[in-house]
Symmetry: C2
Subunit: 361 residues, 2 copies
DNA sequence: CTGTTAGCGCTTTCAG
DNA sequence: CTGAAAGCGCTAACAG
């Protein structure tokens, strides 16, 4: 990568580099119109493209914003990324992307890389974890973030703060009311469902998953119901699928028993995110079971590209794009104590996958 | 963003900046082990983070790769982005993201921004267009790309080359056999379907859409069938939905007629991409029609997150991630005439949405 | 309003 | 093997 430089433009226009800089890149002082025109056409004819690296070096501000996600192809992160991208554009910044599969060590590396590029701010999406195996990784990540913030960087984390991160300056958390919303979902479900509840959760220690589980249990308790059974698996479609297969066997067995006993209870499955719910639903279907006839199921996130599934999935709507936007804005504010950011809210969306309690035949 | 500098580290270690640079960042010459250790610990204690901008300035190579997509939240682009991200990581580069909604003017801007940041290479995903209203935008984009390439940049475009781009040096096109695969799809469909064919296409001028339409028609012709009717709409789910509604009305009308005449032909719908197909399918369902009973339907792309739809969508599988990877590799090669890149291939995947020709009752 | 002079942080000849 | 010096391309005080 080479290109003509400011000095070349200046020479061609017969002015000093400083003047050329003033007309070509924004400056408070505006050179005379004649000179300006000369410079502009010189730049045009040389195909001048300002070197952002050099600019950044000179003004120590890169116009870059780093985004860390587990997997950009996951619709959850893709939606957040869209919001981040949008807000970045408003701020006149470009987005640097890093994917880490959620491994704290990789996240640390990504933060270091962003710091090296002098990104003005960093947005971290994706569930934090307190799993023992992530202890060390989290500590490293926290240290790296601390350093970044101390150097004047702005960080916004979606969901929960990074374990161990202590920075007060420049460290923002965009809180998502996972627990509260899960409780609400449980309450609404409990109103019309009178059978057993099963939660398909992610690995213990994943904050997002744990919060949603806790909230759901609380919602049940508030309705004077016993806690649901919890089955843990991967935080993915395939994790949901595996558990779905196991549940299908159980459902069939209990249906067989009911046939003779007259008992007709359906179970209600709550998967802690939509992709897991879809996986579980696919498994039930693969096993010949139907939803909501043989079991009802709900998810969380309200992923847009999943809206056309049949039966439509009951879930909790989260404004993913808005979350991305807000994280970006928070991390992009000019230090000052800007307007209180509107809290992120969501809402329960009941659809056909948890439709009314009509007993199995 | 401030941070400790190489010179600070050097001073602390009691060596020259040059030496510090040699030990901290890769260099052919390796300083003595004692010195090296001293420098390393100085860096550690100062929390030194190399300034990539400055490095880039000094060696004129940024380690950046620019990616342009229409919309990162679209699963098609998200999948490609994943591949790009992966390959970038292998190359030790970071991905800069720009979204443009397919507007050539925005794409031009993005290319300029990447060029300004001295990105080593640029990957452009997303359908090119030859629509009249894009004429000017395309010309601008082509000019910008030409300049970028002339300055030593590498460009890889997915699908079709940019209209008017003439660069020979550093300009790569990852060809996707859209036409050929669409023809194959038509042939396979024609083998078992004996009714009317309708194509739901994107706006005329969109290369991807046009190629797929042309291929499908050719496939039909090769089977001695008359060309399908073409209905054009937006290249999105909602475009597909709208057309689906219209088609539903038509299907119902013809079913009513068939009731009296005894005629029982189903129509076969080919939507030029999966999201449009899903939209159309949703519309039919919303109108009380069932697939494949009342109409059969096929898409294109084989988007992973759509695999759980019912009925499973017949489509053409495209190795999206691989396409992203390959584009990135092509644009990342060191000029030399590397191994011939394996051509991108796909395959027809018939599923239940186009299941056998059992006449409506 | 313009030009001159220093750097921003790092790499890289070229001497020592 | 190390250090000194000269930039990479641009901006930002200062002078004129």
């Amino acid at each position: 990568m080479v290109a003509s430089t400011l000095s070349e433009v200046a020479r061609l226009a017969g002015v000093s580099p400083a003047t050329a800089s003033r007309v070509l890149n924004g400056s408070a002082r505006k050179p005379g119109p004649d000179i300006a025109e000369r410079v502009r056409s010189a730049a045009e004819s040389l195909g001048y493209v300002p070197n952002a690296q050099a600019q950044a070096l000179a003004k120590s501000s890169s116009g870059l914003i780093g985004l860390i996600v587990h997997d950009i192809a996951d619709p959850y992160f893709a939606a957040i990324a869209r919001g981040v991208q949008e807000a970045a554009r408003e701020q006149g910044r470009m987005v640097l992307l890093a994917t880490t599969a959620g491994a704290p060590a990789d996240e640390r590396e990504a933060v270091a890389a962003f710091a090296a590029r002098r990104a003005d701010s960093i947005v971290i999406a994706g569930s934090r974890s307190a799993r023992p195996e992530d202890r060390q990784g989290n500590a490293g990540l926290a240290a790296e973030l601390d350093r970044y913030c101390r150097n004047g960087g702005q960080v916004a984390v979606v969901g929960h703060g990074v374990v161990g991160a202590a920075s007060t300056e420049g460290y923002h958390v965009v809180t998502v009311p996972n627990e509260e919303l899960a409780a609400k979902l449980a309450a609404e479900l409990a109103a019309s469902h009178h059978g057993h509840f099963v939660i398909i959760g992610g690995p213990a220690g994943l904050f997002t998953s744990d919060d949603r589980i806790r909230g759901f249990q609380r919602g049940l308790a508030d309705t004077a119901l016993p806690p649901a059974e919890i089955i843990r698996t991967e935080f993915t479609r395939s994790g949901g699928f595996d558990v779905g297969i196991a549940l299908a066997a159980r459902i069939k067995a209990s249906q067989a028993a009911a046939n003779t006993s007259g008992d007709t209870k359906r179970i209600c499955i709550f998967a802690v995110n939509d992709v897991m719910a879809i996986g579980a639903a696919a498994a039930l279907r693969a096993e010949g079971l139907r939803i909501p006839r043989d079991a009802i199921i709900a998810g969380f996130d309200d992923i847009e590209s999943l809206r056309d599934f049949r039966p439509p999935l009951s879930t909790v709507h989260l404004p993913l794009e808005e979350i991305g936007r807000q994280a970006t804005r928070r991390a992009g504010e000019t230090a000052g104590e800007n307007a209180v950011p509107p809290a992120i809210t969501g809402h329960v969306t009941l659809r056909r996958s948890t439709e009314g309690a009509f007993p199995a035949p």
